[in-house]
Symmetry: C2
Subunit: 120 residues, 2 copies
């Protein structure tokens, strides 16, 4: 199974779905152009409401990670480079630095979320 959902976890279900797919794309387990299961099917497989899966899909679409088109399904976006190696390395570096300083994942995430730059 590509995704596993924990209904008892503290993070919301739709976020768990989005996180799982996002991680799979960045890790290369899901390749650009590859198609994701239909929302209804994934919802049934995860024993979750269809709207929950669609919420996750919507989130990932707003991040530009996937493309959803009605009637045709949902596919992983084909980016210009589609090379996530640099991102993976940057992620690992940041986590290592954060661990070295004893910062929590949440704190690191917050630093990123409110970091200055081009995109909001």
């Amino acid at each position: 199974m590509l995704l596993t959902i924990d209904p008892t976890a503290d993070s919301p279900l739709f976020e768990q779905v989005a996180t799982g797919i996002r991680a799979a794309v960045v890790a290369g387990d899901l390749r650009p152009g590859e198609r994701l299961p239909a929302a209804r099917d994934l919802a049934a497989a995860l024993e979750v409401n269809m709207h929950t899966v669609l919420h996750a899909y919507r989130t990932l679409r707003e991040e530009g990670l996937i493309q959803v088109r009605r009637g045709r399904g949902t596919v992983v976006s084909t980016r210009s480079s589609a090379d996530y190696r640099g991102l993976r390395r940057a992620l690992a570096d940041l986590v290592r630095e954060g661990d070295r300083l004893g910062l929590s994942r949440t704190g690191l995430a917050d630093l990123i979320r409110h970091a200055p730059g081009t995109a909001p």
Copy 2:
């Protein structure tokens, strides 16, 4: 003013406070050992409830970034190295990679929050 709060922003007030202080520490504007204003005072200055500031302080304490002791006030933690240069560089690298791929800050933050590693 060290901090600015926007009551109309989408992010909660306590997170804005925590984020501002965290960013100041990482940027070096607040040095280890330096004392933060009393919760009541900062709350009055920001026109926010004291609990909001204390919530932010508690969050930062759980991250290990500050030390709060009743009666004595709140100070920035003195870390072994207290060197945030590597962290700043790693943050900048990740943001750059994220922007290159068109990923949103929220997506990047989520990748960090659920990244594997030693600490949760």
